[in-house]
Symmetry: C2
Subunit: 201 residues, 2 copies
């Protein structure tokens, strides 16, 4: 019933996660209404560049601009090459970078173990992590997988795999989030905060 | 921190209504992950077609494929040319068409009166509606603006403007939505349902 180019855009938007057909239609008609802004054309260009001009870093599997040999972090001589922080997704890297509290390298697993979704160790960049560690330069691996069931299972699996190497394996601390309210903390978070309580000096 | 083409796509997605920077980042990384599906390229093509291959019907101001003289409804000889249904947005047309209960023509105002947003009668396709009515063929105008403050104000304004013509002006019925529960109907809806109660024969 709608003109073909409109229906086509709606159908494609609706394939994105969290966007149903109604939201998709709203987005497309927003673009049609703001014709003068050129937003639709700009988005079209950006999305076509998105695949052409990006690639995966062959060392840490983070995203990088196409044509580089390594991503900007792996190729930065200022970074501490003795520490590798292991994360699930590329988006976890900017989250950690924003803390300005980490100077080491990263390793992006590209997912987490999940028997439900059929994701096994072979689907993740685990072999590649072990290869990096085998290089001998690494002194510490920080497991920064998500504090979820899948993330914890992945962390435990990595801990086992790394146990044969002469290095420190650490995990991000669990506890109360900053700015939170004890009363509203969920049971699991509070239990972890209790178990991990720290002595004050 | 993110490669330029990724940041660019995130920034543009975040300009769409209801999509913040975090959701935008999630959408872009979803596209990057599903590289093999070609979804990003398809969306890029669809969005570039969206503006090139669509236009506004010069009669009813609904969306149509570019290159046509009139939209598929205005040019359909089967439609009843004596009734015009006035709606706010192009998306309202497929909603009414899905009911299969209307055989007349449409007129898309492209918005509703809103003093708050500074939208006056001159910003809407009201003059064009009056020109169509002036043609003399029209016997009924159905006001199908939204049941909101702006929609009602627009309907009232149109009613005034149309009062000088020899035609019937009607409005979509207000009342309880089908499948609804009286207990959960809001006060205004229930009041309208009471006021508009119908005698059974």
């Amino acid at each position: 019933m709608l003109p073909e180019p409109i229906q086509q855009s709606i159908d494609l938007f609706a394939r994105l996660p969290g966007i149903g057909p109604k939201t998709a239609a709203r987005l497309v008609f927003f673009l049609l209404r703001s014709r003068e802004s050129g937003l639709s054309e700009k988005l079209a260009e950006a999305l076509s560049d998105l695949m052409e001009k990006t690639a995966t870093c062959p060392v840490c599997f983070n995203m990088m601009s196409a044509g580089r040999e390594q991503c900007s972090i792996c190729s930065d001589p200022q970074r501490d090459r003795e520490v590798i922080c292991v994360v699930e997704e590329p988006l976890d890297v900017p989250a950690l970078e924003r803390t300005s509290g980490y100077q080491g390298l990263y390793h992006v697993l590209q997912g987490a173990l999940s028997p439900v979704e059929g994701i096994t160790p072979d689907d993740l960049k685990i072999k590649e992590l072990l290869d990096r560690v085998r290089g001998g330069e690494v002194k510490e691996v920080i497991l920064a997988t998500n504090p979820s069931m899948e993330g914890d299972a992945t962390g435990m699996y990595l801990q086992q795999q790394l146990s044969g190497f002469d290095l420190k394996v650490t995990r991000l601390a669990r506890g109360l989030p900053m700015g939170g309210d004890l009363e509203y903390a969920d049971q699991n978070t509070l239990l972890r905060a209790l178990m991990g309580r720290q002595e004050l000096e």
